[in-house]
Symmetry: C2
Subunit: 488 residues, 2 copies
């Protein structure tokens, strides 16, 4: 077989494994009978191992070497090669027995974390975290880095991003957000956000239709923890959580996941067989979900346009004027829990985690010192007192799962989304008119052309520069938040 | 790794592939967005090829050889080895390029058959069938056989069954059924079998509860073509078709699939990792679905017990007496279409197909002669005139799909079910009392002990002999049908 055909065949086979594994996972969360769980876990384990073997096999190594020696690769084939090579080398650098021991540790740590959080008992989890941090530091050394060990861990989530760049971005953002949050006024009297599930389902479907999320290549189901999952590029599914006490969760959560899904649906089909399908990074992915959730979903233009039908669907709203409703869905205040935070304060939750995990990996902060450091930063940046570790340092699963380097992507998502939205609006001043009239065709088209179609073929730095003409910057986000939440 | 551990590991990995492939298929039929179809087909293709490679690889051949030379295998391990060896040798006997060409042919033939059936155009399909028959004859030679080439094809569906045995069984059955059907009286005025889908769903769930089908290890969904599918032994799913014009389809169809599923749920868990999970044969599987559908579901004992709640759920029935209702769900009459046939006439549809495909494989009937032969046998056995090939020789997909040797299993299912039910009733004369009082625990227990738990570790001949003390025989089925439909 011709070399580049073999190369493509490798990724087509991997895609098939990905589809199977994604479906096994989706089904586990949405359809599977309870008693199937242990066998399902075993099946996912076997297939994941099989897919991993294909990425680390001797025969794939030979294929890589032949591709490196080949003449006449197209630019996109060269990019495919360099991304695959980097991934291969990272995989090959971790001794298999060490990785196996680490996987076992992480699985035990997640169980310990669950109990520790439930019982508010930091001491139960700390020994696991110490071992995980030790492994992560060792992995960073195996991977190699130019200036900071944390750089080596960022690659999996935000390729090309460095501590030097993040420090600059996040310090700038933090210094603007802290005073902006201090001047927030007290919110008005709380509204009643209750609604029965059936009505929420109808509204979610209605809003998906408005934003033109393509359900002929996807579907919406209910789960406890909402997620988007790509089964294949023509089958991108989302889930949402219907909370009858607060319908904002489902409505804006669905918009969020539909944003992720629209991204996946619009990636150039040809990239699949080059290993370049999927989003550019976790942060770029999050920028697309946040674009739909916040920059569209929580905007005056969108909400005003859907408010009459929302009032018709949910009669208690007929006595609430639009301004009160708008303020209610855009309520911002400092809080303790990241996943409940609003778009204004959210980044500070992330910046706190970034500073802490960077120090843990660098070795300048010990696990023993972590809870106190956490509580100090929450007081300093958000002005809140942390009443317990369960509502503080134990709240997220990420560290138990070994995901060091992941948190920054959440805040970068907001940064990218603001930057992309500013460019989109500069090129198309009629953006709000489009949103207000439910004309999402040109918006989706712009995102496809400028962001989505590229898949993994550009890094976040390259993509932002190409689309906006600027380097990654927090200025657009600061402008957006100041305009929306500032008192000036 | 110890030899038998390696052996088990092989089958555990195959089971994982089976779970993924089954789920990909189930999802395609029940949940998948329409546009996903081409990629889904590709994914199923890749994973099936991968699973097949593992069963035909050099390393598996070495493992087989080592197992053959090993001392101290347990009886069940020896059975595992002999089943796997037979399968390996069958797989190895077909030259891969020939098999590949055949797979392509069959895929084209299915498309041609669909169109030919739609347009009632035998000529469109005949050239494909000629090639398929030629391949099947060649495959039979590759596989090898003692006395009849059709024996070699039966193995995939009914291991151990031969033409000699089938001829004896089916001739005996045919000679009893033809006169029994001739004496059928005209049915009474037709009843109204319409019911809205929601009510059908409630009744299906109610009946599944009555027969104690374990939904904590399964689920019921709606599809155009009902099926049972084993995702894993703790996740056995069924589907049904809700026809608002005739609720008998859904009610008895659900019982049918629940019978298949109960079988799968009760196979000894330890057999999975010996490649002996799954049913003993297609026929034994069908006997379990037919036991629930007909021997339980259409019985006086069962129907009388559920009739009051059925009348409450569906008020039009309150003016229909039980005898009329019972006669309606047990209506029997000669007809043209196999899948719409009743339990009395069904076997003759099968026997016709058996006689024809046996002759095709033997070479004593040509494809050109097939339609006329079909029509002649329908007239002779069922007394009906076939008005078109679409309602005759073109009605089933099996031959287009290359499934020669499959049809007999359907009639054997009835034969086995009657034989097993007679033994069950002889050992437990209280059977009808159990059924009437919804006491399905002891019935399921008896089936588990005698039939289900054995999985593939016994052939149909061994199983029937072990449970009933007799060889396979049509006498119990003839007694059952004569008692139910005879006029004497």
């Amino acid at each position: 077989m011709e070399l580049t055909k073999q190369w493509r065949e490798h990724f087509k086979q991997l895609r098939a494994f990905d589809e199977a594994i994604s479906l096994l996972y989706w089904d586990m969360r949405t359809q599977m009978p309870e008693q199937s769980a242990p066998l399902r876990a075993e099946t996912i384990g076997y297939l994941s191992t099989e897919a991993f073997k294909r990425q680390t096999s001797e025969s794939f190594k030979r294929l890589l070497d032949e591709m490196e020696g080949a003449d006449g690769l197209t630019p996109i084939e060269s990019r495919s090669l360099s991304v695959a090579k980097t991934q291969y080398e990272r995989n090959a650098k971790i001794p298999p027995e060490e990785y196996q021991a680490y996987v076992t540790l992480v699985s035990e740590a997640e169980t310990a974390w669950e109990k520790a959080k439930e019982r508010d008992d930091w001491g139960m989890f700390a020994p696991y975290l110490e071992k995980i941090v030790a492994y992560q530091r060792k992995f960073a050394d195996y991977f190699g880095y130019a200036s900071h060990p944390y750089d080596a861990l960022l690659y999996d989530f935000e390729p090309g991003m460095t501590v030097a760049q993040l420090d600059r971005l996040f310090e700038g953002l933090r210094d603007e957000l802290v005073p902006l949050i201090r001047q927030l006024k007290q919110a008005g009297a709380p509204l009643d956000w209750s609604m029965d599930q059936k009505a929420q389902e109808r509204i979610c479907h209605d809003w998906m239709r408005v934003v033109d999320y393509d359900l002929s290549r996807g579907r919406l189901d209910a789960t406890v923890h909402p997620f988007e999952i790509t089964i294949n590029r023509r089958d991108v599914r989302i889930t949402t959580k219907y909370d009858e006490a607060d319908y904002r969760n489902a409505l804006f959560g669905t918009m969020h996941e539909a944003g992720h899904a629209t991204y996946e649906q619009q990636i150039d089909a040809a990239l699949d067989e080059l290993g370049l399908g999927g989003g550019a990074s976790m942060g770029i992915h999050e920028s697309q979900s946040l674009f739909f959730e916040n920059f569209v979903g929580r905007s005056v233009a969108f909400l005003k346009s859907v408010y009459p039908s929302l009032q018709a669907e949910h009669p208690p709203l007929s006595s609430i004027d639009f301004e009160t409703f708008y303020a209610g869905v855009n309520e911002a205040k400092p809080s303790l829990i990241r996943i409940e935070a609003d778009e204004l304060t959210y980044s500070l939750h992330i910046i706190i985690r970034y500073e802490l995990e960077k120090a843990l990996i660098q070795g300048t902060l010990s696990v023993a010192e972590l809870p106190a450091a956490w509580n100090r930063l929450y007081k300093e940046y958000l002005g809140v007192d942390v009443p317990s570790d369960a509502k503080g340092v134990l709240q997220d699963v990420h560290w138990a799962g070994g995901s060091f380097g992941y948190f920054p992507s959440y805040a970068l998502g907001l940064v990218y989304a603001a930057q992309l939205t500013e460019t989109l609006r500069a090129q198309h001043p009629e953006l709000d008119t489009w949103i207000a009239s439910g004309e999402f065709g040109p918006i989706k088209q712009w995102l496809e052309t400028n962001v989505h179609r590229h898949g993994k073929s550009l890094t976040p730095n390259e993509l932002i520069r190409e689309v906006t003409g600027e380097d990654i910057s927090v200025r657009p986000l600061v402008r957006y938040l100041t305009a929306k939440y500032g008192t000036a």
